[in-house]
């Protein structure tokens, strides 16, 4: 069985067994996040603040570790900085041994999962109990967490009831969530009473006061501390923040970002060692003065190296809230048992796994991040999670062979990547070359590509799923159409003044506010969906704006999505060279394809010098964002738009990256102002995500994600389907009988033709 087939089978198995529970739960968390953060007036400012605190904390980490050690040890506690799991576990085992302890109760801690401390203690004959109900379920089931915050999210109530009834051989079977909860509470309550040692994680540790903050809901962490005399807190070194007061933005953000609660039931702030009250069940006493032992185990395990790594450092800002998992369409469908490594799950897991367990642990799931960027605005510490995934993909592409086969491919491929690069990634990463060839040889290329034999070969060799319809390349590209048209007298062709070419023929319209557009001929508009390009030209010209279509390379989105960073940078530089003189002449760069616009506005930040990036970012517009600007500044344009009264009803699916750039509302607003009746989808992603849905191993997941979008529009069968992204249009085409078009085509048809 091929590797791709194996992967597809594993994903299909998880979709069938865990998909429904994961989907329901993550959807709940995700919609809760939207609702809860919308109520928070200072949401964006708090995120900025949280980000600044984390940047500062990681920058000053050595000083913070010194400070917290001094503070806690002055009060009689111990701080141990452990190099790796073996070191940490050795220390914890010694603490347990010194205390003569037989049993340990734990509250939820992902860092302790990273250490596998339970296994280490159990090997010594110590009883270890997870008291968080989700972790308890996993302990009983002998499974790994599938989610950072809700570790048993993949299990339904029925599942858990069956598990408990069988495992504990219950005569009266448990059924309801209340019954299950009560059973677990009572069962664990006895273990908590008898326990010798309480072990917790930490959400934050303040370096100045030595306070541990625990964000919980069940109350098990509090009971764990109140009932035991020796406390061990396990935390990654990145959990330190400088001062107690800096807890505030995190307390306000963490619950909202994760499970969508304004705040969780309990935020415990304990400043150890504790001489506070507790219950001693052995002596049946409420003890008000206790003398407890405290050990803070700060875990390095690769984190120092991450701090020195310019690309992975951001991972250390992560507060493990799970927003990146909940907002991720792929995660929502398949869960952390596919979208996760040895310990961590979701988008940020790539950074954690690469950092603490090594690149190999990230390799198995890194491709599930499609770069859709829906997690970017959801992250409370503003981590560029898609970029971390891209960087790790790039490193994986380059790892292993020391470039020994590079000579074989140098000169043969149009990219900058090493010989070891997976052929599927190379194929999709070089889509620009394929598209050029496809157009040059169309329709033969389309006929040939769609022959069953070709599809079988493509599937086997390149991993392009044969069930997916291939794009049909057009023999006349959009650019060719435009140039042919410009050489007649229909349109004025603006050229940069630096260019040797003279200005083209005079146009018949006067541009409002003297604006001129450089319409970016993205790969798809140029070779496949040339109608939307033509529509954009007609619409802009009808609104009085002259249009130029430049000779310019593709944006680099395709190689970037395959982790081919060097190739993507080449493309970025090429785009910049071509566009720069136009920007200098004051032309506005208008883009149809949202994933390419997102390159100009987001991704190029990592690929181009800052000033050049900012100039392009600030000068680039999504097509309907641009139309919106024209309408807002020019009453004549507004009149032209609003003059028609279309009766069309539309169902509009915005594009993931377009929404991350907060550009969705321009399209809906313009369509509505033009008289359309519009409903919109609210799925995070259509599931196609560029090349993702074409890949043999991900086709089924892609279609499963798409099903959520199909369900949303299922009742809208009298509406015309519109979508802004190429991938979304292709996905919608595969989900619905009727075709989907770009909104600019709908608008142009009304404004220009009526």
């Amino acid at each position: 069985m091929s590797r791709r087939k194996q992967k597809a089978d594993r994903i299909n198995e998880l979709l069938a067994t865990e998909g429904d529970a994961v989907f329901e739960n993550t959807q709940g968390f995700n919609s809760g996040r939207y609702a809860s953060t919308a109520k928070l007036a200072k949401y964006e400012a708090l995120k900025d603040e949280a980000r600044t605190i984390k940047e500062d904390a990681i920058e000053r980490l050595p000083v913070l570790i010194e400070s917290v050690t001094e503070t806690i040890e002055e009060r009689g506690g111990t701080v141990y900085v452990a190099e790796d799991p073996t070191d940490a576990n050795r220390y914890i085992r010694e603490v347990v041994d010194d205390a003569g302890a037989e049993s340990v109760v734990k509250s939820k801690s992902m860092t302790s999962e990273e250490l596998e401390v339970n296994e280490a203690l159990e090997a010594d004959g110590v009883d270890v109990w997870e008291t968080d109900l989700g972790e308890f379920v996993l302990q009983v089931a002998d499974e790994a967490p599938s989610h950072l915050v809700a570790p048993a999210i993949h299990r339904s109530r029925d599942d858990i009831a069956t598990l408990f009834n069988e495992y504990f051989e219950l005569e009266e079977p448990l059924e309801s969530a209340e019954e299950l909860t009560r059973f677990a509470r009572d069962y664990l309550g006895e273990h908590i009473k008898d326990a010798d040692i309480g072990m917790t994680g930490a959400n934050f540790v303040t370096a100045d006061t030595g306070t541990v903050a625990l964000v919980t809901s069940e109350g098990n962490a509090r009971k764990t501390l109140a009932s035991t005399d020796t406390h061990v807190t396990v935390a990654g070194i990145e959990k330190l923040i400088p001062t107690f007061e800096e807890l505030q933005p995190f307390i306000e953000l963490i619950g909202r970002s994760g499970t969508g609660q304004d705040i969780t039931s309990y935020v415990s702030l304990f400043t150890p060692p504790l001489s506070i009250s507790g219950l001693n069940f052995e002596a049946n006493e409420l003890v008000t003065e206790t003398d407890r032992d405290f050990h803070l185990v700060l875990v390095d395990n690769g984190r120092w190296a991450m701090r020195d790594d310019d690309q992975l450092r951001e991972t250390l800002y992560c507060i493990r809230c799970s927003a990146c998992a909940n907002s991720c369409a792929n995660f929502q469908h398949v869960g952390g048992h596919a979208f996760g490594g040895e310990t961590y799950t979701g988008g940020i897991a790539t950074g954690w796994e690469a950092g603490v367990h090594g690149l190999d642990s990230a390799a198995g799931f890194n491709d599930l991040c499609t770069g859709c960027s829906r997690c970017v605005n959801a992250c409370p510490v503003e981590i560029d999670i898609p970029w971390i995934n891209t960087v790790v993909r790039d490193r994986l592409n380059r790892s292993g062979d020391d470039g020994q086969f590079d000579f074989l491919v140098d000169g043969l491929t149009p990219d900058e990547e090493p010989g070891r690069l997976d052929i599927q990634k190379r194929f999709f990463g070089n889509f620009a070359t394929i598209a050029k060839l496809g157009s040059a040889t169309a329709p033969l290329s389309n006929w040939l590509a769609n022959r069953p034999v070709s599809r079988r070969i493509m599937e086997r060799m390149v991993g392009v799923d044969r069930r997916r319809e291939l794009p049909r390349f057009r023999s006349e590209t959009f650019k060719q159409w435009f140039d042919a048209r410009s050489s007649s007298v229909q349109s004025r062709t603006a050229r940069p003044t630096g260019s040797t070419d003279a200005a083209g023929g005079g146009g018949s319209t006067t541009p409002p506010a003297d604006r001129e557009v450089l319409l970016y001929p993205d790969l798809y508009t140029n070779h496949v969906q040339i109608e939307r390009g033509k529509a954009a030209v007609r619409l802009l010209e009808a609104l009085g704006v002259p249009v130029t279509v430049p000779d310019v390379p593709s944006s680099g989105r395709a190689p970037l999505s395959q982790g081919m960073v060097a190739t993507a940078r080449e493309h970025a530089q090429g785009v910049l060279e071509a566009v720069r003189p136009h920007l200098r002449d004051g032309r506005d760069v208008v883009v149809l394809e949202p994933s390419d616009l997102a390159m100009f506005k987001r991704e190029y930040k990592k690929l181009l010098p800052t000033e050049e990036f900012e100039r392009l970012r600030d000068g680039s517009y999504e097509i309907l964002e641009y139309v919106y600007g024209l309408v807002e500044t020019d009453p004549d344009v507004a009149a032209a738009l609003e003059a028609t009264t279309p009766s069309n009803r539309l169902a509009y699916h915005s594009h993931c990256q377009q929404r991350t750039l907060r550009l969705e509302s321009y399209t809906t607003t313009i369509l509505e102002r033009a008289g359309f009746d519009v409903v919109t989808s609210d799925v995070e992603c259509c599931g196609m995500a560029g090349s993702f849905g074409y890949k043999r191993e991900y086709y089924d997941l892609s279609m499963d994600v798409g099903a959520a979008l199909r369900d949303q529009f299922a009742a809208e069968d009298d509406r015309r389907l519109v979508a802004s992204g190429t991938s979304c249009i292709e996905q919608l085409d595969s989900l619905f009988e009727r075709p989907t078009t770009h909104p600019v085509e709908v608008l142009a048809a009304h404004v220009v033709d009526e």
Binding site: L133, E218, R222, I251, I263, L269, P272
Partner: protein, 169 residues
């Protein structure tokens, strides 16, 4: 502090699975007596003119009494308007276990200790922590879990929370 914070606290409590009432200190005993379910355990209240003495509340309970109690009464040093949270600090008085191991936690808080924002609360707590407060919990509504497939209130901690605001304190 002041009326805005209290109004906001009332709104926040209304959106939580929690309840509250406002009474002047003179009516405190009646209010508690009519609310509590026995057996009840409590922590003596550091507020002028209010006391749990004379009520059916065990004030120096054993571990088993705490664990078996239906009601646990503690003071709260702060209440947070924006969230409906109360801050329960343990001052070696049993407040942490008494607020935790019971079915219902009744938090008694002075109207003058209601602050508006989390920022205010963290600011005041920071001072208290530096003064030696070792354990404080920002508690918002009852303990809860969704780990068993549906939302359930009352897990390891209390399943209900009642806040008694002393309107003239």
């Amino acid at each position: 502090m002041g009326n805005t914070a209290i109004r906001s606290f009332e709104d926040s409590i209304a959106s939580l699975p929690a309840t509250m009432e406002q009474v002047p200190a003179a009516e405190f005993e009646d209010a508690i007596a009519s609310h509590l379910a026995e057996p009840a355990v409590g922590v003596s209240l550091p507020f002028e003119g209010v006391s749990l003495q004379g009520l059916p509340v065990t004030l120096s309970p054993t571990a088993e009494e705490v664990s078996a109690a239906r009601t646990g009464i503690t003071p709260a040093s702060l209440a947070i308007g924006d969230y409906g949270s109360v801050v329960v600090g343990d001052r070696n008085d049993g407040a942490e276990p008494v607020s935790l191991f019971v079915n219902e936690h009744v938090a008694v808080v002075r109207a003058s200790d209601v602050v508006e924002s989390m920022s205010d609360a963290v600011g005041e707590l920071g001072d208290e922590v530096r003064d030696g407060l070792q354990s404080a919990v920002v508690a918002t509504g009852p303990s809860a879990t969704a780990d068993m497939g549906e939302l359930v209130h009352g897990v390891h901690g209390p399943e209900s929370v009642h806040v008694l605001l002393l309107s003239d304190r």
